[in-house]
Symmetry: C2
Subunit: 405 residues, 2 copies
């Protein structure tokens, strides 16, 4: 085999996903998050209520707490007159017990004083000095929200694995928690390789370009539940790549960009084969064929293609589902819109195709220029995924566009 020869047997996208799935697992690392920062995190414990919420019977309306029996015969024509013995404010406890013929003024949310078993709404009363005129009967428990109505002590109110929405964060606050155990976000080492790559902000010499992929990868990782650490560009030498892999093993997950396509300079395959197990190298997908997946000391390692479009499209197709699984997040919720193709598409035969498109007035315009470009992705609103067995899609055909975030 020529040393610059192309890949051997390519596997299908679905086989690639299955292999990744087999060799990755959801994180078991747990950390404590303050509830102010818990939204979007994944709960790592079942949450059992240690107390009733609310912890007391409370008024559900503004009015007067009283003994329901005292009102049974009240009517607008024949009102009952009760003696006002106290005014209780929200957040206070009542000093006096409500006896027969008595009442206590309460506002919504107030604790119900001892002795009282109902609240009459202020609208059905009249007040004069210490007398309250009640014009309607109320039933026992009327307008009282009982202790534990919201959450009962002992109840498992949130479960391990729950994604913490704003409302679920509210439950944590209602239970009096200041912080909560959540699963740690997977830490991802993002390692750009290639000696032609320079850090943005430095001056380019002939033949050099700025590193793009590590920045797009850091971005996509950070919006999909991971914490990315970007390494400085690693030159393509066996020694440097080995060192980078070893440093990367401090993280949960390693992603190389560049270094996985064919060429004399591409040593990543050999280095990783030496340190771990290659699970696939080459997928029936366009762009992004030369994607590599391996494990080293049990940690997943991706080798993404060096071309920006290929790297990013494979990040959407492989990295995002893997990362979200490791983070225990639900699958990325894809927003999809239907559109008609603005022009005929000839697909890559025998490869699944990721085709960025721009949307204008219900039409989808393919914007793919070259895999080497970043602008084709940047100018796109979303992408089509064309199945392996589709060769041609005619202009005007309805397609489903998956929108970028």
């Amino acid at each position: 085999m020529n040393k610059m020869s192309p890949f051997g047997l390519l596997i299908s996208y679905e086989e690639a996903l299955a292999l990744i799935d087999e060799h990755t697992k959801p994180t078991d690392r747990i950390e404590e998050a303050p509830i102010e920062e818990a939204v979007g995190r994944v709960l790592a414990v079942d949450l059992v209520a240690e107390a009733d919420v609310p912890g007391f019977d409370r008024a559900a309306m503004d009015g007067y707490a009283l003994r329901a029996q005292d009102t049974f015969e009240a009517s607008p024509m024949k009102p009952r007159v009760l003696k006002l013995i106290e005014v209780v404010q929200v957040g206070e406890s009542a000093g006096k017990s409500v006896g027969k013929g008595e009442c206590t003024q309460v506002s919504t949310g107030c604790l119900i004083p001892r002795g009282a078993d109902a609240v009459v709404m202020v609208e059905y009363t009249e007040r004069s000095d210490e007398d309250v005129v009640v014009k309607r009967p109320v039933y026992p428990k009327a307008n009282i929200a009982p202790r534990g109505e919201d959450i009962e002590k002992g109840e498992t109110i949130l479960e391990r694995g729950n994604l913490l929405t704003p409302a679920k964060v509210g439950v944590l606050a209602a239970l009096g928690r200041r912080s909560v155990q959540v699963y740690a976000r997977p830490r991802v080492a993002v390692i750009p390789t290639g000696k032609e790559l320079l850090e943005p902000g430095t001056k380019l010499e002939d033949g050099q370009i700025y590193d793009v992929n590590s920045y797009t990868l850091v971005s996509i990782i950070s919006i999909n539940g991971g914490v990315a650490t970007r390494f400085e560009v690693v030159p393509d030498t066996t020694e440097d790549l080995k060192k980078a892999v070893k440093r990367g093993l401090d993280y949960d997950f390693i992603v190389f960009s560049g270094g996985s396509s064919v060429g004399e300079r591409d040593l990543l395959y050999a280095v990783i084969k030496d340190l771990g197990t290659i699970l696939f190298h080459g997928v029936q997908i366009k762009p992004g064929k030369p994607t590599l997946f391996a494990t080293v000391e049990g940690k997943p390692v991706f080798g993404m293609p060096g071309y920006p479009t290929s790297c990013l499209s494979n990040a959407y197709l492989f990295l995002v589902p893997t990362l979200r699984k490791m983070a225990r997040l639900p699958e990325r919720s894809e927003r999809k819109v239907k559109a008609r193709l603005a022009k005929r598409i000839v697909s890559a035969s025998g490869r699944k195709q990721f085709l960025p498109v721009k949307l204008r007035e219900g039409l989808a315009y393919p914007v793919f220029k070259e895999s080497g470009d970043i602008t084709s992705m940047a100018g796109a609103d979303g992408y089509l995924l064309l199945p392996v067995n589709v060769d041609v899609l005619e202009e005007g055909r309805e397609v489903e566009v998956i929108l970028f975030d």
Copy 2:
């Protein structure tokens, strides 16, 4: 009018939104963000390319750079033999110019040496020592990606207002930017009021509950492009509320929770009326009727209802669109699913209704208990919005559920 009397005229949800829209505007504050942290931010400037990307003609394939004319008569039967004068690595510049009958070995991404005008793919050649046997003709410019192919100098490549996706962050890197001007996130003061409220983590006395709303509000603000600062609970006194409003004016936007429903303790209305302009107080919506919107010194002030469900549902309905507009973010992309009602719903006549539901096997189960609960929202997968003019929805009827994040 009784001092505990209900609201005056309620306005419709649509009128309320229009009033908010009239009195809020997208932020003009700009800040610099490192590109590693720019994803999800909104670009505050047009971005004009200051250089071509790539900055040089480069090889699109692994092979040999040569003069196309030298290959015009090459064929597998009558190959042309060229002299290999140099091997150029990616990232290097070529030392030698390619003359007639000569070639230079290049890899994908390599700068094309002076003199060469095409690249022949390695697959169509054979090499022996310093000779390269070329078996096919190539056309001028074949397998060369020209300078500026991705981005042309002077081109406006990203526009003010663009949401920075991972691909657009890649464009920034490709242009050599280390940081970029983005619109600042709106800073929101979240102010809980009510003397019955305690901070989570402290011990409750009779009649007290933990503050829930400021935590749900902080959560929903942080996932919708804002930066929330949570104030400590403010007691319901005129003096304390005034101080809180004044402190809140250091922020772009103030959100009070609690303090806007009817009751003797509710002074927020009076305090804000005194300091600014009330635009509405009371909306035809359930739950969440007692929502207040005002401006103080030109800054928007929301008074959210104190009940957790009401507060949070109104946050989805009013706060999120307002915040995203101020942050210059696109509208929240609502994920929607169709489901059938698991039971008959009797709607609140004359009020738009926000109805949290749980989804199980294609059925939507209403989970609303009381506005005072937080669990009805926490246990819900999403919500229905029932129009004002709907009174009853029958079991089995198809509805559209808007999913929570």
